[in-house]
Symmetry: none
Subunit: 195 residues, 4 copies
DNA sequence: CATGAATGAGTGTTCATTCAT
DNA sequence: TATGAATGAACACTCATTCAT
């Protein structure tokens, strides 16, 4: 009897070993040959675990985003004030630690693929991401309403914050060396003073 | 000296004749063959006026954006109220007329390329675009301050509006069938009430 | 010794379980993976019983042809007149019942492979098929001679009928929607009147 | 100005230079790489003159068949008796001169492709071939009727002869070393005596 | 015996760029 | 100056076969 491999596990392993590859060469220039080489397996073996190249890319991105969402949930629990929590929503963009920057660059590549309509999975997946962040913002605002920091019209703010976060990300992606921190603080002032 | 002028002129001519081409086949799938055919010149001749394919794409995009900016300026002049003018900033995203949708799709492809770091020129160019829109928003807000509709702290709003516009664009690009009009109106209320 | 018997048996079993597979995907597109799956065995196990893919295909075709020959013998026994029997020789081509059409399509693929010289076994095998049908025609004609329906020169007719049958098959294979029934009846008239 | 090549001419040239290639390796194993190498051009250049590999194969076969039909017409004109002319119909199969054998082997490869339904062009093309040979046989028989060698029912014979010719070809393709000459002579006796 | 994981050679097609005329 | 013919590197994906367990 031959050894039975855990297909799902090996799939993840291959994806993990290629995470840097995406960072180095970009998703679009990633070749299956490179993936195989990086993962120390044959090219054919790649296709034992992935449907096609799109699937490989999807898996790698998938892992990144899941990790990012888990990290976000952990962090948000530790924060007390509404201000801090809203700021945390933006910190994905603002944080300049090496780890965050790298993560942001993955995200950038990911968005580039989404925008080019090349990858069906990505678009669906992207909706899930939006839903996640929307839900988080809702939670933060509901809590604030309960605390009496905001009045009941808070629901209208959810999308405004969401859009602002997307705008921040967009600007960071497309402009070099832009200072966004203070703008965010101004924005938070703007929406919290409102009540 | 006159030759250089002619070169520059012909370069523009070629780019202009290919503006629709991008819409038909997409930026990334544009081939030099198609460009030559559309411009009614030989393939080799294309390389007399452009360094490489990247350069062609850049010039075509350039034409599109210049046109879009001119159109924006024309429209903004006709508008009276500050509300209308700010809304016009967002209308690039919100307008669903055939022409606007087409233009927005160009922009989407364009952003995808900027994000993938494939084209150096694009990134620099993108900064110019940001500067243009920033300037426009500044003008609108300054006018509003002069009219007394806003107090002097208006400068802080420029970037907030800019970011909101980018966020709108981002969301429209990455989500299907999303209703953004009311959110914009809410947002405009939010910033104008503030004063 | 008993092991060899078992090997031969299992080989047949595998081939039998894959008879329909050829119909579904075509001989040339048959993969070893599919064979293994259909036979409910491991891919490696296939190679315990077959030299290579060519060998698998050969065995499957073998099953089909044996079956076809058995069916022919059964049918021919039930027929009385010489006319009917000769017509039965052609019915492999003429019959449009689902089953016959399916069988004819197998045969078509099979011939395609024989003609492409891809499979050595096939060519030898094809000779056996010719010998079988030749023998059958001989039997029919001898009987006819015994009955006094044909004179002694009947032996010359064997090959003519054989060739006519091959030509019918060929035409059916390579032309769409061709009416062959009446031509056959004319042909039978031609050769039987002769005596 | 660059040199302007006659595309149609070069297409033929490339096809001609590859005629032996098909004979050597078989149509199905022909690779575009080999074609390019044999024609002493780059692989990309092949695609300047052919849509795809199918198109290459089609052109080569096309040339062969046109040539074969021209040769047939020339030969048939020189022949006097109906017997000779009908025999000439079969000589494509019967003639064992090096040239004829080579031509027959091309035909064999061609039929293999037709049977595998891989190539749309081929199937249509094959119909033309049938029409050509049918027409030729008709001409021969009409002439014979006019000469009084056959009675008016000759039209029924056209398809019988056609099918017989196909059967001959089939048998020659699928059997090694088979003697067909005498069978043909018998067959011609059979149909001509009939009148 | 049985297996299925691993493999990598093989292939049709595209297209930006070059260069001889 | 203008051209378009020529090019070949690049790439995703398949599948028969092997072999360690």
């Amino acid at each position: 009897m031959p050894k039975i491999v855990n297909k799902e596990l090996k799939r993840k392993e291959i994806a993990i070993s290629c995470m840097d590859l995406i960072y180095d060469v970009g998703i679009r220039k990633l070749t299956v040959d490179e993936v195989a080489k990086k993962a120390n397996i044959g090219k054919g073996t790649v296709y034992e675990y992935f449907e096609n190249k799109e699937d490989i890319v999807f898996e790698i991105i998938n892992m990144h985003i899941q990790k990012a969402q888990q990290d976000f949930c952990k962090k948000i629990k530790k924060l007390k004030t509404t201000r801090e929590k809203i700021y945390e929503v933006f910190s994905f963009v603002l944080d300049n630690s090496e780890n965050s920057v790298r993560r942001f660059n993955y995200y950038k590549e990911y968005v580039s693929i989404v925008l080019s309509n090349e990858n069906e999975n990505m678009l669906k997946f992207n909706c899930n991401c939006k839903d996640f962040i929307t839900q988080q913002i809702e939670n933060i605002l509901n809590e604030a309403v309960n605390k009496g920091e905001l009045n009941g019209n808070a629901s209208e703010l959810v999308e405004v914050i969401l859009i602002f976060e997307k705008g921040l990300a967009f600007l960071k992606m497309t402009q070099k060396d832009i200072e966004l921190k203070n703008i965010c603080l101004n924005f938070i002032d703007l929406i919290l003073k409102k009540s």
